[in-house]
């Protein structure tokens, strides 16, 4: 018997409830005190097609999914044919007994066919065939002998907590029946079991997008304006859902151009604001990004990547927009680019992005991607330290227009919005106070804010230098160097950024277990950086290989551009699927044999 170390996959058509069932099951398991890692795959369509939800379970914190599973739960026939090869020796394939499934093929693969009367139970016990997914999840729980009461709790949460909720009661009866039947038939054949961990603390089940939204709320974000675009939509929807409770303004704008410009307007008035989008929407925002750069307006943009070019693979993942975001915009101007790698980092980096934006009065781009945005984990609630975020709020040289005393004191000699200063950062007083009346311009301007009609070389140079000085200051004062994970003195260092963190971390663990000394160097902050120190860090690595979700090795190029150091290889995945440890190790071997 293998206890609490299992991965399963639910698959079916869009509209069958694959995601909600997978999410519900994962939540039930997390409530039993286990750690989970859930990842989903869906197509750009509302009904039909093929979707899946994969959940890995363990008693230790998990950071990635793996390509193999122990139990396949099929909501349709296609799921069996598409995913049978992922099922391990001795694993099970659970499906409705009316499906045309080749049980012999499952046996030939070394797995156990587990037909179940799921539809029949749904119809006869629940009175509705739509309850088949409840039956399927409960049957899976029965096979793994997982305490059904956790599933029942989630059903109550989803369909009505109060006693006598008819739909909840009927679902629970379906779950009971399917659970018992599956346990009786297959539990003795299946060696993987799920057992509640006694006295385990309550944990949050949360995905990357929700963590970003949580971070924004904790940091005092009051304004969001966006246009929905996968995979940023669920972040936007999260903010909409929280708007009333947290007293924030959320606007769905006519396009992404308007979204970022709304944020620039709100930020100019002294409010913390962000827009979220994917590469296509970010393309539209580029013009306004440059305006934020010129007017030194602090705005945050969440760039949730998916593969391009153009609409590419709309519901899949990739890390293809790094160099784009680093260079986006006409002209040169300060910006920061950060890429959280875990759900916890999503929370803290999003909060920190507002501090960087306001402290340096510039746009900040926060990277995520479909993989990080949608994958779920069970995290300790203490890992989201809202008090710490509150303590660290740094609004920089900002005085709000209603802070009269402070303004009187600060502007004895009149107010110049773009005063030349040593650190390049000027006093920011949003419009509204009689002592601080000013006009700003995207066009090159004078310290007072007015357009520089003479376009003097001297003012231009001083203004450019003032703005760009902020980058040097930020690189030394605030930006964080990449961090190692794993043993010192590794033979090979896997260099990555953003969401690759989890898969690379687990790949490193596996490599070290198997006798190869490897470590990871993970970049959260990507720009600006103290590149001399980055060069020292990379120079100390025996060899380094970049692991990235793109074709060209964009981080490796960025590093080479800034340090002159060339990677010994690049593991590039650009098929729209997320990296996983097995994939990384396989490709590492290929890269290393080439070296």
């Amino acid at each position: 018997m293998i206890k609490n170390d299992v991965a399963f996959k639910l698959g079916g058509e869009a509209g069958q409830g694959v995601e909600s069932s997978g999410m519900g099951f994962a939540k039930a398991i997390a409530r039993a005190g286990l750690y989970i890692f859930g990842v989903q795959d869906y197509m750009s369509r509302i009904r039909g097609g093929h979707n899946w939800y994969q959940v890995r379970v363990a008693e230790r914190q998990l950071y990635s999914h793996e390509p193999h599973i122990q139990l396949l739960i099929a909501f349709d026939e296609r799921t069996v044919s598409e995913h049978l090869h992922e099922v391990v020796e001795g694993g099970g394939v659970l499906y409705d007994d009316t499906f045309k499934v080749d049980a012999d093929a499952i046996k030939a693969h070394g797995a156990i066919p587990m037909p179940m009367p799921l539809l029949t139970i749904a119809e006869e016990v629940g009175g509705n065939k739509l309850m088949m997914n409840t039956a399927a999840v409960a049957a899976a729980a029965g096979i793994m002998e997982f305490d059904l009461s956790y599933i029942e709790q989630v059903i109550r949460d989803n369909f009505g907590r109060r006693k006598g909720s008819d739909i909840a009661d009927r679902n629970i009866r379906v779950a009971d029946a399917a659970y018992e039947e599956a346990r009786k038939r297959y539990a003795h054949l299946f060696e993987w079991k799920l057992e509640a961990v006694p006295n385990a603390p309550q944990r949050m089940v949360i995905n990357g997008n929700q963590a970003l939204g949580f971070g924004a709320l904790a940091a005092g974000c009051k304004f969001v304006a966006s246009y929905p675009m996968t995979p940023a939509s669920s972040l936007f929807e999260f903010m909409c859902a929280q708007a009333r409770r947290f007293g924030i303004v959320v606007r769905q704008t006519e396009d992404e151009i308007s979204g970022l410009l709304h944020c620039i307007g709100a930020a100019h008035a002294g409010v913390r604001a962000f827009a979220c989008t994917s590469g296509g929407g970010f393309s539209l925002m580029v013009e306004s990004l440059s305006l934020a750069g010129s007017t030194e307006t602090p705005v945050v943009i969440v760039l949730a990547q998916r593969p391009g070019p153009a609409t590419g693979l709309p519901t899949r993942t990739g890390q293809e927009d790094l160099l784009f975001a680093l260079h986006a915009g006409h002209g040169e101007f300060p910006r920061a680019v950060v890429a959280p790698g875990t759900i916890e980092q999503c929370f803290y980096e999003m909060a920190r992005a507002f501090n960087l934006a306001e402290k340096y009065q510039m746009p900040v781009i926060v990277f995520t991607d479909n993989f990080l945005a949608n994958s779920i984990r069970a995290v300790e609630p203490e890992a989201f330290d809202v008090q710490k975020v509150a303590r660290e709020i740094d609004r920089g040289k900002l005085i709000l227009p209603h802070e009269h005393g402070k303004i009187e004191q600060a502007v004895t000699n009149g107010y110049r919005r773009y005063e030349f200063t040593e650190d390049g950062i000027s006093l920011r007083i949003p419009p509204g106070h009689p002592k601080a009346i000013y006009s700003v311009a995207g066009e090159e301007h004078l310290p007072e804010g007015f357009i520089d009609w003479e376009e003097t070389a001297e003012n231009r140079n001083r203004m450019m230098q003032k703005r760009m000085r902020k980058m040097t200051v930020a690189a030394h004062a605030d930006m964080r160097l990449p961090e190692f994970y794993g043993p010192d003195d590794a033979e090979v260092t896997l260099v990555c950024w953003g969401s690759s963190y989890g898969p690379v971390l687990e790949a490193v663990d596996t490599l070290n277990r198997n006798g190869m000394r490897a470590n990871m160097l993970h970049f959260v902050d990507i720009h600006p950086l103290d590149w001399d120190r980055v060069a020292d860090i990379l120079g100390s690595c025996r060899s380094w290989v970049a692991v990235e979700g793109n074709y060209t090795g964009q981080l490796a190029r960025w590093i080479r551009m800034n340090t002159g150091l060339k990677a010994d290889g690049v593991i590039a995945r650009y098929d729209g699927r997320p990296l996983n440890p097995t994939y990384i190790i396989e490709h590492l071997n290929r890269v290393l044999t080439r070296v």
């Binding site: 409530r31 309550q202 949050m204 089940v205 949360i206 929700q210 949580f214 709320l217 904790a218 005092g220 009051k222 304004f223 304006a225 708007a243 009333r244 409770r245 947290f246 007293g247 924030i248 303004v249 606007r251 704008t253 006519e254 396009d255 151009i257 308007s258 410009l261 709304h262 944020c263 307007g265 709100a266 930020a267 100019h268 008035a269 002294g270 409010v271 013009e287 306004s288 305006l291 007017t295 609630p381 989201f384 809202v386 975020v389 509150a390 709020i393 709000l400 227009p401 419009p431 509204g432 009689p434 601080a436 009346i437 000013y438 006009s439 995207g442 066009e443 007015f450 357009i451 009609w453």
Partner: protein, 293 residues
């Protein structure tokens, strides 16, 4: 509405306009200042947002808060600002290229939302700053450097589009009559909701057709017609299509009953957004955590 005494001198910017002699923009600047004086609006109570073009330099030429932004983009900036600081009077000043061309989509949607924003569009029916190409409002057949055989597109009809899109205040002025224009702008500012003031503003260098004289020969004031009721949308629709020998100016339409965007947003009920305390209470965030458990 503020009741302080404000003088034209107080509104004087240290920056001298760079407009050509005789430019229609002077009349608009003058009318904007007069409207502020009329309403007692002090410089720090007003936020001007402009686009790109000759007229969009206006925020530099008036002593008030201003933001000279990008071509076609002042409308969304103004909305974001208004939602963050709704106590302030927000006035958009842009051109026909900005609002009826590149920013057309933004314009369509601000009218659906009805924020309490005044929008002055400087309509010279030609592209001035890029030196004489035809504009979205140029009359059909207009000959320019980019339409050497005359334009083959219909001109935008700002008044009709504004009515169709649900604008709650629709007016047209003429920069050759700053007194009348000032009155329209003041009415627009006082209007609770989105106010469009399309302004005929001759470009004395590039538009040799729609000159001061051309407009003076044709325009007449709707407010001088006692039978005209600007609350009558059908009547406004009819007037919106009057063009040729007689062209109406004045308030075409006014709807005082529609709620503003800001009024409908719960977060803005107590005080402006920029005055909200941040971060939210830790208990609220802890409660949100529990929803994930």
């Amino acid at each position: 509405m503020a009741t302080a005494t404000v003088t034209m001198k107080e509104l004087q910017s240290p920056v001298e306009p760079t407009w050509c002699p005789g430019c229609g923009d002077y009349g608009i600047l003058n009318a904007v200042k007069r409207a502020m004086v009329q309403l007692g609006l002090r410089p720090h109570e007003v936020f001007f947002v402009s686009g790109i073009g000759c007229g969009s330099k206006l925020p530099d030429y008036i002593r008030a808060n201003g933001f000279n932004s990008l071509h076609g983009r002042p409308v969304p900036i103004a909305q974001g600002f208004k939602l963050a600081h709704h106590d302030m009077k927000v006035i958009i000043v842009d051109g026909d290229g900005d609002n009826y061309g590149i920013g057309g989509n933004h314009w369509l949607h601000i009218m659906r939302r009805n924020p309490d924003i005044t929008h002055i569009v400087q309509n010279n029916m030609v592209y001035g700053l890029t030196k004489g190409q035809y504009a979205p409002t140029s009359m059909k057949g207009y000959v320019s450097t980019t339409s050497p055989e005359g334009t083959i597109e219909w001109p935008v009809n700002p008044i009709a589009i504004a009515l169709a899109a649900g604008a709650t205040f629709v007016a047209r002025g003429f920069s050759g009559d700053p007194k009348h224009l000032a009155d329209l702008i003041a009415k627009g500012i006082q209007h609770k909701g989105y106010a469009l003031i399309d302004v005929f503003q001759p470009c004395v260098i590039f538009n040799r057709i729609n000159t001061y004289d051309w407009f003076r020969e044709r325009i007449y004031k709707l407010d001088e017609d006692p039978t005209y009721d600007p609350r009558d949308r059908d009547a406004a629709w009819e007037k919106a299509h009057e063009w040729g020998d007689r062209i109406p100016v004045g308030v075409f339409y006014i709807n005082e009953d529609a709620p503003t965007l800001e009024e409908q947003i719960p977060a803005l009920a107590e005080k402006p957004l920029y005055q909200h305390e941040i971060p939210p209470k830790a208990e609220e965030l802890e409660a949100l955590k529990r929803a994930f458990m």
